[in-house]
Amino acid sequence: MSCTPHTPNDYKSDLKPVWCPGCGDFGVLQSLYRALADLGCEPHETVVVSGIGCSSRLPGYVETYGFNSLHGRALPIATGIKLARPRLTVVAVGGDGDGIAIGGNHFIHTARRNVDIAYVMMDNEIYGLTKGQAAPTTPLGDMTKSTVYGNPEAGIDPCALALSFGATWVGRGFSGDVKGTAELMRAAIAHRGFAFLNVMSPCVTWRGDEQFKELRAKTRAVPEGHDRTSMEAAMRLTSESEFLTAGVLYEIHKPTLVDEMAAIREKALPFDVLPPARDSVLRAFA
């Protein structure tokens, strides 16, 4: 990251979002512009990667390098980018279905590996792009287009997952609060390691105005004195069903996958030893 001053507007691309008027994802996009500007991220040194879904359209609206990939596959692609060019700032974004249903396996392993990227999950508890089916986050009993008799499955909490998968930074935001979400995003991007930010981002089309109102009413800040380094405390906060606790739930520091790969290179070849000539590779077969 450099110190060149940037304004949020510098990160706006000339593409007009396809989102419905009033979509929560607009707030997430505004927050990302602000966070990138606050951090002074150089647009050409930044990559925003997504999967597929309404929210995964986001990279096209950000004037950095971007990659709107396949459903569920943002994290492997982001991992490849970060490992190949560690100096880049890499932000992965997507929806709850993208990240927990079809991409759930990658979520586990990207968190476990502590890949140094920020992963922003825009969570509306529904499949919006395919027009209103149940997601893994959809609460039990909810009636959606694919669960006309009520959802037979219990919804899952993405923050609890991230904590148990080994994410080293976990936060929750509400897209109705652009300022707060921008601050969280800034912290997530600045975090060295895998930072998971779950942003509740209402779907006005398939959830109506109710979801917005409910979320706003339920949201509260992380209580004073919360110990961010305590997995137990973070788990407790995220599992309180009467509240939606917004803020930084968890934050610890340990070597990232980039650090570990550098350590492996050092073990394979100490820094004061010259790289092997091709002949020494061939000697493996002599």
């Binding site: 971007g66 492997p76 190949a84 061939l282």
Partner: protein
């Protein structure tokens, strides 16, 4: 004799495979040509194992299907390999003294040697395989001094006492054979030492030489050695190897790394290629270089993971959703695995397409000798944007050859947002027919130039052949061996084997077919995928075309192919008579 094939069969702990390794290393260092294959029972550890080493004074193209010297530690273990290991009529069988050969082999010349007793007498109780090695080496006329060096090298880490005991055992084995008289003699001239490597090794080495510094993969038989070799060497060269959670992630990480500007590869086998096919579509539409080494095995599903087949062809050339341009190269032997992999990187980078290299278990896991000097291949790079391109950068500019300069993150004026959605020249999503049609045409147009700078096929034999064989991949080696065996009978024959499978070199192939009186397609696929594929690409007149195809699980033998060729040559002659 100018070539000889030895096989060793035993249980885990008998050292059958280690014995083959010692012979292969010694003969490679003597400059001989060597081809070594292994086979195992289904057990993860222990169980039956066999090792076959073919040694020759000139180039070998396939393993031999006849064993000249068969060493068996335990005939019960041999029973398992009976379908794979056939002793030649004049084979010599060497076995443990008190373990008599089965009745059907009793007609062969047999040497009963007390392997274990002799090893104990030499105070080398663990070296009964080295006793057997000594016997076999003396009987076969192998280079004894080179073998002694190879034994010392093999046990170097175990210290002088173990080396001495092994050398005593070796000499005792020689004495045991000599007392019974030496019966075969390999004749050769010593030459410069050769390297000994597998197809998977050659692929990994090629990746290093091509400039690949990022590899991601998920272990799957029979491709895993590529992951393991690069896992050791890429970090030494400043590169990165990631073992992913599945093949979806492996190809995803490769595409990410490549988007970021690194040359990147993954290696897999059939079921893994299936998981990767969604990403193949992404790499194709987003025009991101990616190299996929797919080592074929018996399929479908888990099938026969440890044995060879040529049945991923349909998946490689057709598999996927949408109109998905990709390149497929079939490699024909170990040395060609090297060249095909560098070719794959060159094409992927230059044309910004996914490239699949189809190898198969028989090439990937056999080890054969290669002269180090042959392992070089020109390397080409990605087209980067010029300053003129960056004036108003269009990532997918619709150029004459279809190739658009590709910027990588870090380049200030090259910013773009790529996607798997159909997009216009500036990478902006579009659902318009005209855009889709134009970009499809652009992406397919790139394929027109792929054959440039590439060895697209191998054509051998007569110019106006009576019988023309069309095959691909590892089958070419067996066909060459069969032709050598046929000698003068093969004078009116020719072979055509495409290396470039997609896009197929249709013009030279059509010319070949038209020049043949009769065509025989040979492939290791029950459904005859290659034959069916050719029918979609070229004009293959039914009245003059024959197909010999069967399941994998057992490789083609040169005797089997020679017999098939003979049958077809007779048919050509019969037709000629009728016409006359």
């Amino acid at each position: 004799m100018n070539e000889i094939t030895l096989a060793f069969v035993g249980s885990g702990g008998d050292g059958a495979v280690a014995t083959g390794d010692i012979i292969a290393t010694a003969c490679a260092r003597e400059g001989l040509h060597v081809m070594k294959t292994e086979a195992y029972g289904p057990q993860i550890r222990g169980g039956e194992s066999s090792c076959t080493v073919r040694i020759g004074s000139s180039r070998l193209y396939a393993p031999s299907d006849r064993i000249d010297i068969l060493v068996v530690f335990n005939w019960n273990d041999f029973a398992r390999f009976q379908n794979e290991l056939t002793p030649a009529d004049d084979a010599i069988l060497i076995h443990e003294q008190d373990d008599a050969p089965p009745a059907e082999l009793a007609g062969h010349q047999c040497l009963a040697v007390p392997f274990l007793k002799a090893a104990r007498e030499e105070s080398a109780p663990k070296a009964k395989n080295i006793i057997a090695l000594g016997v076999a080496a003396a009987v076969a006329g192998l280079p004894l001094d080179a073998l002694r060096k190879s034994i010392a090298l093999r046990f170097a880490k175990k210290g002088a006492a173990v080396i001495d005991a092994s050398l005593r055992a070796f000499d005792r084995g020689i004495a045991e054979a000599t007392s019974q008289g030496s019966m075969k003699r390999l004749e050769y001239e010593r030459a410069e030492g050769k390297l000994l490597m597998s197809g998977n090794d050659a692929c990994a080495l090629a990746a290093i030489d091509a400039g690949c510094r990022f590899f991601a993969g998920y272990p799957i038989t029979p491709s895993t050695e590529v992951l393991q070799f690069l896992g050791e060497w890429l970090p030494k060269l400043g590169g990165t190897v990631l073992q992913t959670e599945d093949e979806l992630s492996a190809i995803g990480a490769v595409i990410g790394a490549s988007f970021a500007g690194a040359k990147a590869m993954t290696a897999t086998s059939g079921p893994g290629l299936s998981l990767m096919s969604e990403m193949l579509g992404l790499a194709s539409i987003a025009e991101i270089p990616a190299v996929i080494m797919n080592v074929q095995r018996g399929g479908p599903s888990t099938g026969i993971p440890t044995k060879s087949e040529q049945s991923d062809l349909f998946h490689a050339v057709f598999g996927g959703h949408g109109d998905t341009p990709r390149i497929v190269i079939g490699c024909t032997d170990v040395e060609d695995s090297y060249h095909a992999t560098v070719d794959a990187f060159n094409i992927a980078e230059e044309f910004q397409v996914p490239v699949i290299v189809l190898s198969d278990q028989s090439i990937a896991q056999r080890r054969e000798t290669i002269a180090a000097a042959t392992l070089t291949h020109p390397v080409r790079e990605r087209r980067e944007p010029s300053s003129a391109d960056l004036g108003e950068y269009h990532r997918y500019r619709d150029t004459a050859d279809g190739i658009s300069p590709m910027a990588a993150p870090g380049l200030a004026s090259g910013i773009y947002q790529t996607n798997g959605l159909e997009h216009d020249e500036r990478a902006r999503p579009s659902a318009a027919f005209v855009v889709h049609e134009k970009m499809n045409a652009k992406r397919y147009r790139k394929l027109n130039l792929v054959a440039r700078n590439l060895k697209t096929h191998e054509r051998l034999g007569a110019r106006q052949p009576k019988l023309g064989i069309i095959c691909w991949g590892s089958t070419l080696g067996t066909v060459r061996e069969a032709m050598a065996r046929l000698g003068a009978e093969a004078a009116n024959m020719a072979v055509f084997a495409p290396r470039l499978l997609t896009p197929l070199p249709a013009a030279p192939l059509q010319e070949f077919i038209d020049s043949c009186e009769r065509v025989l397609i040979i492939e290791l696929s029950y459904a005859a995928q290659f034959h069916q594929y050719l029918r979609t690409q070229i004009d293959l007149p039914r009245q003059k075309t024959a197909v010999y195809s069967r399941s994998g699980g057992k490789n083609f033998g040169s005797t089997e192919i020679a017999d098939e060729i003979r049958k077809n040559l007779i048919r050509v002659e019969a037709t000629e008579e009728v016409l006359a």
